[in-house]
């Protein structure tokens, strides 16, 4: 079984936000909810880097570990999804997530926090594949149609890669070899120092 992964190549990300609007388009995500966003560090200064961030579909997902109603589950493809019928909108997963992925629509009256919403890797949720109910609550289910998340499929520079972890790694490794340089993955220098 494939293990689905995202990887954003910071050497190629230009903060064009194509991934963000592709997600909005495919999943009809309302204003104010951002399943995916592009973060730019050192904006406007030498060394500026951008990276596209969404739910990373962790193997041992912290959101899942802390959820008081146990609404998270991991699919056979390694995609972390959740059940909005169980979710109580407490926001504890937001505490736990290292990427700020969980989103809470302000759609109810009095600004009450709604059910949590996040990137589904375009894989819908725990209702019938491609049903209206699924689209309504979770958005598109491209994975069931043999397609990948639209954010990655449409990335302007092919910076954002999505798919089976092994294949993503192969593509990225090939790029690194071609560039003839050490990995430019986010956080490399911080983790291993600039000399490595």
């Amino acid at each position: 079984m494939a293990k689905m992964k995202f990887l954003c190549d910071a050497e190629r990300c230009i903060e064009c936000n194509g991934c963000v609007t592709a997600c909005k388009n495919e999943n009809e995500v309302p204003w104010g909810v951002n399943r995916r966003r592009v973060i730019t560090l050192g904006d406007g200064e030498v060394g500026e880097k951008s990276i596209s961030v969404a739910c990373m579909h962790c193997t041992d997902a912290p959101c899942s570990a802390v959820c008081p109603v146990d609404c998270f589950y991991t699919t056979d493809d390694g995609i972390v999804l959740h059940d909005k019928d169980l979710c109580i909108g407490c926001g504890y997963c937001f505490y736990a997530c290292p990427f700020g992925a969980p989103q809470y629509p302000a759609e109810q009256a009095f600004g009450v926090r709604g059910k949590m919403d996040k990137c589904t890797f375009c894989a819908g949720g725990p209702v019938d594949d491609n049903s209206v109910a699924e689209f309504d609550k979770y958005g598109a289910n491209r994975v069931s149609q043999g397609k990948l998340p639209l954010c990655a499929e449409m990335c302007s520079t092919k910076a954002l890669l999505a798919g089976d972890g092994d294949m993503v790694a192969d593509i990225y490794r090939e790029r690194i070899l071609k560039r003839g340089d050490r990995p430019q993955t986010w956080g490399w220098e911080k983790a291993y120092g600039s000399a490595v």
Partner: protein
Amino acid sequence: MKLIRKRTVEPTGKFTGLGEAVDRRTFLARSGIALGAATAATMLTPGRVKKVHAASSEARIGPVTIKKSVCTHCSVGCGVVAEVQNGVWTGQEPDFDSPLNLGSHCAKGASVREHGHGERRLKYPMKLVGGKWVRMSWDDAINEVGDGMLNIREESGPDSVYWMGSAKFNNEQAYLFRKFAAMWGTNNVDHQARICHSTTVAGVANTWGYGAMTNSYNDMHNSKAMLFIGSNPAEAHPVSLQHIFRAKENGSKMIVIDPRYTRTAAHADHFVRIRPGSDVAIMWGMLWHIFENGWEDKEYIRQRVYGLDEVREEVKKWTPEETERVTGAPEDVVRTAAQMMAENSPATFVWCMGGTQHTIGNNNTRAYCAFQLALGNIGKSGGGANIFRGHDNVQGATDFCVLSHSLPGYYGLSDGAWKHWSRVWDLEHEWVKGRFHPEQVEGDSGKPTHPMNYRGIPVSRWVDGVLEESIGQSDNIRCMVWAGHAVNSQTRGPEMKKAMSKLDMMVIIDPYPTHAAVMHDRTDGVYLLPACTQFETYGSVTASNRSLQWREKVVEPLFESLPDHTIFYKFARKFGFENELCRNIAVENDEPNIEDITREFNRGMWTIGYTGQSPERLKLHLANKHTFNTTTLKAEGGPCDGDYYGMPWPCWGNPEMNHPGTPVLYDTSKPVAEGGLCFRARFGVEHEGNNILAVDSWPKGSEIQGGHPEFTADLLKQLGWWGELTAEEQALADGKNWKTDLSGGIQRVAIKHGCAPFGNAKARAIVWTFPDRVPIHREPLYTPDRELAAKYPTYEDRKRFYRLPTRYMSIQKDDYSRDFPIIFTSGRLVEYEGGGEESRSNPWLAELQQEMFAEVNPKDANDVGLKDGDMIWIETPEGARIKVKTTITRRVAPGVVFTPFHFGGWYEGEDLVDKYPPGAEPYVRGEACNTAFTYGYDSVTQMQESKVTLCRIKLA
């Protein structure tokens, strides 16, 4: 990148088989309510948000039809794949088959499906009555507007109605629109290219023949070095970065020269920061190192370049010290850039509006060309002048000359040009002439000129066409028509507002109301006519690389909107020339047949080879996109075998000749029949006693091995090739040349002998017909440096230039730098495009950029006492001011303030939201930066100066 794409389960729809109630369209309607709540909280007053216009609830159920179109934002030409169910645009998929974008989109392209919702569109014709928008029918609108125009025509002549066209037209609409204006009887017709790349087209065409991008985005894969000046493709042409990164990862050097440390600069190997408006200085400063070190390509120059010695004399003055004095860039930084370009060959050169929008824009573009010629980079794969155009069809609209100074195909406005097109149109030249005002006026040269031969008022100056007293036409402009044009892209807001109040009538033909609908204080005489977008019609579109692509219609026009060509047909009928307009074009339900229009321009566009791309060939390319190589753009096998994708012009001869298109201009390594070329013999055969034809250089396989003039019937006779024309060809070609022979025989025979129809000459580094023969630096009209203004003064004022008085020195002579010490410049954001009305009305984009802002360096912020996020006034010397939010950043240098130019819907601090027709206000509104930009126009094309003025900032 196709990763693990398993077979899709198409063509059944995502919700096929589901009998129950909620479909995706209804979901839309509901999320519209949610959206309303969210937006109301952040930005809108409650009650303003209208629910999404929901289609029938069956929309989502049923088979999916795939429609292929092209993104309507920038000029990369990204393929769009639309999924349509029951006539509703329900899904958007990546176009992996397109060799131009390989499935990719930026924020704008990835959100074009919103065009199928069109929530904030203009929904039906309206007019302003006593300050209120009143709905009207199309028939009433055409009649009322048409009567008003005919009345003006009667009183003041046809030149008093101004027809502003658009780079958003497809090719067929652009062509028909230019023809329409001719038949109304005026040259007061223009479009965005004037304020985008007009100085490029003029500068480049006058250097080597054609004014377009020489190579392609894809061809940049072959570059060993890439220089970007005044160009920020990471925001303006994001998908091009895919090709640029491919080159970079193959080892190509990437150099960015810009006043700002742009998102593109963030990926460059070398960044050179210059003072805005010092482009000639930096180019000559770099060339100084190249000449000093003998890095120029001497053999190439001997064979193919004329006049470079005069440039060399000028360059001698640009020592490293002087270069740094003027540009601010230190010697080592400049030298490194020059060396990178010289040592990594072939090197390509990209420029955009940072270089073009200046009073010396034409000098800038010619300096760029001279630089590339010195290095021998033109006419080579991997080299070239890769001028990235702006709008999706600004290349096409330029080629069809929705321009005040030319007829389609750059034929100009001479009697010969009019006679050529009258022949193509099947009309008597005298009839066409009779449509114009009969009296001659004093022309730009001071000589009496017939209005038909006199270039009209350009986009940038329509305000002066309304306000100036002494102008070169029978009366002032009294009615403005904006068909797909944003007025917030033109400078001098207060004067524009004054001009708007003086007009008899304003007519806005657009999918959105635009800034023009709200910025004035009029209460009557403004009409809004809803045009549909390009996703609601079909036809061809030309990408920046000169490739033509065919768009299919995705959905029927929304609401009561109509395609532009239908609207103009209705006006033609009102004016009584619909039969002349469509003599060779079938019309059904008031809609002229698109394919017939394509075939008509195929019969006339010989100059630039828009003659071989028949609708049938274009559709074949559309169906076989996947067969084209993504680097060479050449079809490898399949039905299009040997063709280049989209048959980049020139695609010589008639369609039957099957010319493959020209992927790289002036590339002598290929035969002309296979897309090769040489420089065009456009400027005669000799100059001041010097031969200006090519020496020892010719396209591969040419039977004339050396320079030669352009082909005429007489030349063919001299060469003994005349007999190779068929009898029918001879009948049409006799006495004609390669540009005016409607049979195409002259081109066919020239190419059969391996020759370029337009001759074989040297490129010229000097242009003796321009105000500055050698490109020289001149300070902007509003310059912060008086010493440099004295040393590099601007031009003298001109009495009549494109019909208008034009000021230079009378502005520059006064010192504004004390009161307005900061340079003000502008540029693009990735989320928005052009005037921005369309993209600011798309919630998926609007959410990402919710406020107009100004980038201010920390030093200037501290000097004025600003904190990040403070609202400030930006005030400029002509008395305009705009209120914007501060972003403090080192992206701009101290002494420079930058704002994006896509905002509108505010005027001098006031949000004009209440002036929009209800439900048609964009989600995001903001101050238009051009309100505050000042006077200043290029000395050849009237391009506006919107990249340098002076300002002061203060806390609001």
